[in-house]
């Protein structure tokens, strides 16, 4: 069952252009140029309950605008959103009980007091019954191993400890949908792993997660599905494995040669570590791998060879460039 349904979502903005040089700055005191921006351009998708869905895209692609609309903070220019049975922006008062959010760059904890006190604040705001509150808090502090941490002032916590507390803050009211924006930004490997484990754990208990991030490891480890947005359009929607084939079936082939290369025709060289060590890229949709290797061995003297899949970073970067 879909917990989020998005149909033909559009958002346009009007902004003003500003110059940079001295003359331009003086000019902009008096006259500004109007610019209309299509942040989101007719996007549709459905997210089933209990999924972890990654929302990717380069900076300024329109993904945070989309997330804001999904949260109910921003009205769509046109199109329809239904989430947890609500229209987010219109029924915000009720809808917000069903959602939680962790923004890596926007803390909800109060800086000078222990997280525990901030949690208590949300207990009151969301009207969480004491017994539920205590149970969830005990459960989550145990999962994240922060039972002592929550008693210290937020300002003395490490970034990892703080982020764990942000998760507790966002999930005490047992939201059905949780929005994550760069949840592991700046964290060390151990803290990252622990946060990811927590997300996976809560997901098993039924929570739906929408994850926007630039950290592809987050996506690879957590998301069953990714939606890629670029320049306001949805350019990819599907399982992570599908992404591998999105750009054709390309392979990376590392070669060690016996003799330096003389003829480069027909080879797509992407890296040349030395005269004898090169990396090439081959598209298996045009030639089969057998044919390709046969061609290679007739033209070159190869002492070692390894064939690899295209790394995720390359795939994403290629999609962004399109």
């Amino acid at each position: 069952m879909a917990i989020i349904t998005v149909e033909n979502l559009v958002k346009t903005y009007t902004t003003y252009k500003r110059g940079s040089g001295f003359r331009e700055t003086v000019k902009s005191f008096f006259k500004r140029k109007k610019v209309v921006v299509n942040a989101v351009n007719d996007i549709s998708f459905e997210i089933p309950e209990g999924q972890i869905c990654g929302l990717l895209g380069p900076n300024g692609a329109g993904k945070s605008t989309t997330v804001k609309m999904l949260c109910g903070a921003l009205y769509p220019t046109s199109g329809r959103i239904e989430a947890a049975g609500f229209s987010p922006a219109r029924d915000r008062r009720h809808y917000v009980h069903e959602i939680g959010a962790v923004f890596g760059q926007k803390s909800q904890l109060i800086w000078d007091i222990p997280p525990e006190d901030s949690f208590n604040l949300n207990r009151a705001i969301y009207d969480i019954p004491r017994s539920d509150y205590n149970e969830r808090l005990a459960n989550m502090t145990k999962l994240l191993d922060v039972a002592d941490v929550v008693k210290k002032p937020t300002r003395v916590l490490s970034l990892g400890e703080r982020m764990k507390c942000e998760f507790i803050m966002a999930m005490l009211h047992a939201p059905k949908i949780v929005f994550l924006d760069e949840p592991t930004i700046g964290l060390d490997v151990i803290a990252k792993a622990s946060v990811r484990e927590f997300i996976a754990n809560m997901n098993k208990q039924g929570t739906t997660f929408i994850l926007t991030t630039h950290d592809l490891d987050d996506v690879c480890e957590l998301a069953e599905r990714v939606i890629i947005i670029n320049k306001g359009d949805k350019v990819f929607d599907g399982e992570l494995e599908g992404l591998q084939h999105y750009l054709g079936r390309k392979k990376i082939i590392e070669l060690t040669l016996a003799k330096p290369l003389t003829d480069e025709t027909g080879l797509n060289i992407i890296e040349r570590r030395s005269d004898l060590q090169i990396t090439i890229e081959a598209d298996m949709e045009r030639v089969s791998i057998r044919e390709f290797l046969q061609n290679l061995s007739t033209t070159l003297k190869i002492t070692d060879i390894s064939v690899k899949e295209l790394p995720m970073e390359r795939i994403i970067a290629d999609i962004y460039k399109k």
Partner: protein
């Protein structure tokens, strides 16, 4: 989970509102208690301010018996009361909201089932309780015991009620200024500008009865008067005088109540417009 039942989301239900208010106030109190030493600056600044006022007015009263209807003793009490009342009625609601908007953190409030204004008001309760403890009371003690100023209000009950109403007028005015953050890239300037107008026209610099009559008459209809002057003059003389009109304390706080309601309505209208803008309705 039963989350769709409408009662749960409504902050208007009294016990829940009270619960939220107390939780927010408590958190804010703890938050600022970490900076107690900042508030204690007032224990130095307040007495210096009053000391300067004491010498100014002692010199000025050399040739006259009363100024603006106050004698020297009342004038000194007026300035003492003015700074004390400031400690329990001032707030940073404007600055705070503008900061939330500028940094994008306001977003996290739109995701919570609470009206931000109610949240901010609760914050102010917590913050001002701290002000009462570390600014108001110590300075009052210094004024009475060290400076030997008669700070006794003419009518304690009316004075307290007037201060409470001033607390609300201040809040709604500042919150409305804070909402400007949704409209201007940096609303700090306009907010400071109104702040200075408030300083002048709420009687912090000088009792409003020293202004020309026509100005006093206009001030009778501006919220500034009810933010500081009303409780201060009621503390000092027991009644309220402005624009040639003298009314008893009860009538004056009725006027203040009108000012509270008026500013509440203004802030509500402005809040709705701002949220429409923030969430891009019709944009």
């Amino acid at each position: 989970m039963g989350g769709t039942s409408p009662q749960r989301g409504s902050p208007q239900r009294l016990p829940h509102s009270l619960d939220v208010c107390l939780a927010v106030a408590e958190a804010t109190y703890k938050e600022w208690a970490a900076y107690r030493s900042h508030s204690m600056v007032s224990i130095l600044v307040g007495p210096i301010f009053l000391l300067v006022q004491y010498f100014i007015w002692t010199a000025v009263y050399g040739g006259v018996e009363t100024l603006g209807g106050l004698n020297l003793e009342q004038m000194i009490r007026y300035f003492g009361a003015s700074s004390l009342i400031g400690y329990v009625t001032m707030d940073f609601a404007d600055w705070n909201l503008q900061m939330l908007v500028r940094t994008g953190k306001f977003l996290t409030f739109t995701l919570r089932p609470i009206h931000h204004r109610f949240f901010a008001l609760s914050q102010k309760f917590g913050h001002r309780v701290l002000g009462l403890l570390v600014e108001f009371i110590p300075c009052l003690i210094i004024f009475i015991l060290l400076f030997r100023i008669d700070m006794m209000p003419e009518n304690i009950l009316i004075t307290v009620m007037s201060i409470i109403l001033a607390f609300f007028v201040n809040f709604y005015v500042n919150y409305t200024l804070g909402l400007l953050g949704f409209w201007l890239v940096d609303a700090g300037g306009i907010s400071r500008f109104v702040g200075i107008l408030t300083n002048i026209f709420s009687g912090t610099l000088v009792p409003l009865t020293l202004f020309p009559d026509w100005a006093q008459y206009i001030l009778l209809f501006l919220p500034f008067t009810y933010m500081g002057y009303a409780p201060t003059i009621i503390w000092t003389t027991g009644h309220f005088t402005l624009g040639g009109i003298t009314m008893n304390g009860y009538l004056a706080i009725a006027f203040q109540l009108i000012a509270v309601c008026f500013m509440y309505v203004i802030s509500e209208i402005f809040y709705r417009l701002s949220i429409r803008r923030f969430s891009g309705v019709g944009a």
